[in-house]
């Protein structure tokens, strides 16, 4: 009986010790492979047709797996401020081939694709290809037209296509009325700061993805700041013209009757007046600053 108890005790101890050890060993294995390694294997993938055949009917599950991998891939690269996102489109393409109805893949995937690096892959044409596939497979889903229009306008600077997208989308039963409004407002000029702000605002309101919300807020803050700075610098030029000198403080402008109170930036802190130009206190909060700044010609 003692033998039996001894063996039971030893086996239990070994079970616990070995398993705990295996957890630590596995963590070391994962570190050895590096986060890149996980997806390097994906590089050697056959086409989605082959995967579909191999999936034995479980293509839905595999699609989810590939979508998850795409998200993980994007997140990993994003944190490293990577300049290249080579695998993003293939991963999204495979996922949507396996399951053409993963709407989120089209919606978020194309935005991640179209944004300039390091925020995205900088591949707006690929993004359009993806969304158009989504629209083909899901013709009743009007929001994809919003995504298409968004990418066309913001990243491809193609207001004509954007307007077409919004118009087509607005005609689908169930589409929100602002689709038609957006279509109508789309100006011929490709860079319209108000249009851009409206699109980002719309994106912020409709998305549930936290990353997207963060990006949208950052863009909106920068757009607002750019807009404010444009206006403020115009006032500075006016002051220079009137007085022949450069204003040093906001009070100078106030006294000149050009301004009321200290101008505040979107995050609540005052703008900085420096040698005749206007700046924000903390540029890191305004990642996209400068996109909408007027050049010298536009000032007047």
């Amino acid at each position: 009986m003692r033998q039996h108890k001894k063996i039971t005790a030893i086996a239990t101890v070994l079970l616990i010790v070995f398993f705990t050890g295996s957890v630590f060993a596995l963590r070391n294995v994962e570190a050895s492979r590096g986060r890149e390694a996980t997806l390097e294997d994906v590089l050697y993938l056959p086409s989605s047709k082959t995967i579909k055949r191999l999936s034995l009917g479980y293509s839905g599950l595999l699609a989810d797996i590939y979508w998850t991998r795409a998200v993980q891939y994007f997140g990993a690269k994003h944190i490293k401020h990577s300049q290249r996102y080579d695998l993003l489109y293939p991963l999204l393409d495979i996922a949507t081939d396996l399951d053409p109805h993963i709407i989120v893949a089209y919606e978020y995937g194309s935005v991640f694709l179209s944004q300039q690096p390091p925020d995205g892959a900088g591949q707006p044409d690929q993004a359009v290809k993806l969304v158009e596939k989504g629209i083909r497979e899901n013709p009743d889903y009007w929001r994809l037209y919003f995504t298409l229009g968004f990418v066309d306008y913001i990243d491809r600077q193609d207001p004509k296509s954007a307007r077409e997208a919004f118009e087509k989308g607005s005609e689908i039963p169930g589409a929100q009325p602002w689709m038609k409004v957006m279509a109508a407002r789309m100006a011929e000029r490709s860079k319209d700061i108000h249009m851009a702000a409206a699109l980002w605002q719309q994106l912020l309101e409709t998305t549930t993805n936290k990353e997207m919300q963060k990006t949208a807020r950052l863009h909106l803050a920068s757009i607002q700041a750019d807009h404010d700075i444009n206006e403020l610098e115009r006032l500075v030029r006016m002051y220079e013209q009137r007085t022949g000198s450069v204003p040093k403080t906001w009070q100078d402008l106030e006294r000149a009757g050009l301004l009321r109170g200290t101008p505040l930036a979107p995050y609540g802190e005052p703008y900085v007046l420096k040698n005749g130009s206007v700046e924000v206190q903390d540029a890191t909060k305004y990642r996209y600053l400068g996109e909408w700044r007027y050049n010298e010609e536009q000032m007047y």
Partner: protein, 258 residues
């Protein structure tokens, strides 16, 4: 003790050989060597790539299938046929029996893989008409495949120690499939929150991680495998298998047999 362990292990090996199980490798070798020239018909310049992928994947898959099919009966067959009765009436400890069977099955798989490797290298030579430095890399992939066998065999042994062959097969195949997708399980755990995160992280460590052991595509592209990866994978496979084997011993030790 070691005399009994090796006696049981060798007897298990003998059973596998006489069961004509190992004859699968004859089929494998013939198929591989015969189809090698076919690959060049399919795609120019990619013969080696395809051969390595197909060859190594076949060695891995054949081995896992054998491991599971023999493994599920390792213990349950002896109980059903009551051959176990005459073993237990002898001075053999229950744990010696079960570990001896484990070693015997591992021996079978190693021999099987070894012979298949020889056939594989022959096919490789026939395709390349030369020996390349990168050929040595294949051995790393095969070593990892053996580590994979170590884990699969332990898992099948565990199920065999308390379950019927059918359920053992189902559970073992299921765990093998999940283990192959271990990376995605880990990804999922990374993206989840709260209780789901905790549960999926626990699952990611409890489930055997075969994804880390699969370097076939790397090796097919003549890429090196880091030394630290070899070290840690070895430690992982040994510890994980040891834990599972300990669990099998624990269950079998306490079980009232039929």
């Amino acid at each position: 003790m070691s005399a009994r362990l090796s006696a049981i292990a060798l007897n298990t090996f003998r059973e596998a050989v006489r069961d004509r199980v190992l004859y699968n490798l004859v089929i494998f070798v013939l198929l591989l060597v015969a189809s090698a020239p076919l690959f060049s018909e399919i795609s120019i310049g990619m013969e080696r790539l395809i051969l390595v992928n197909v060859g190594l994947s076949a060695i891995s898959l054949f081995g896992v299938i054998i491991a599971i099919f023999i493994g599920i009966g390792l213990v349950s067959k002896e109980i059903d046929k009551r051959t176990l009765y005459t073993i237990l009436s002898r001075p053999v400890r229950r744990w010696e029996f079960i570990i001896g069977k484990y070693f015997g099955l591992m021996l079978t798989l190693v021999v099987n893989a070894g012979l298949m490797t020889v056939g594989f290298y022959i096919a490789l030579f026939v395709t390349d008409h030369s020996v390349k430095r990168a050929d040595g890399l294949m051995l790393v992939a095969i070593y990892f495949i053996l580590l994979e066998f170590l884990m699969v065999t332990a898992i099948t042994l565990l199920f065999s120690s308390f379950s019927t062959p059918i359920f053992s097969a189902i559970f073992a195949f299921a765990l093998f499939a999940i283990g192959t997708f271990a990376d995605d399980l880990r990804n999922f755990a990374g993206l989840a929150h709260g209780l789901t995160k905790w549960l999926s992280t626990a699952a990611a460590y409890a489930v055997p991680n075969f994804a880390s052991l699969n370097v076939i595509s790397r090796v097919a592209h003549d890429q090196h495998v880091a030394g630290t990866l070899v070290l840690y994978n070895s430690i992982y496979a040994l510890l994980y298998s040891g834990a599972v084997a300990a669990a099998a011993v624990l269950i079998f030790e306490r079980r009232n047999l039929k």
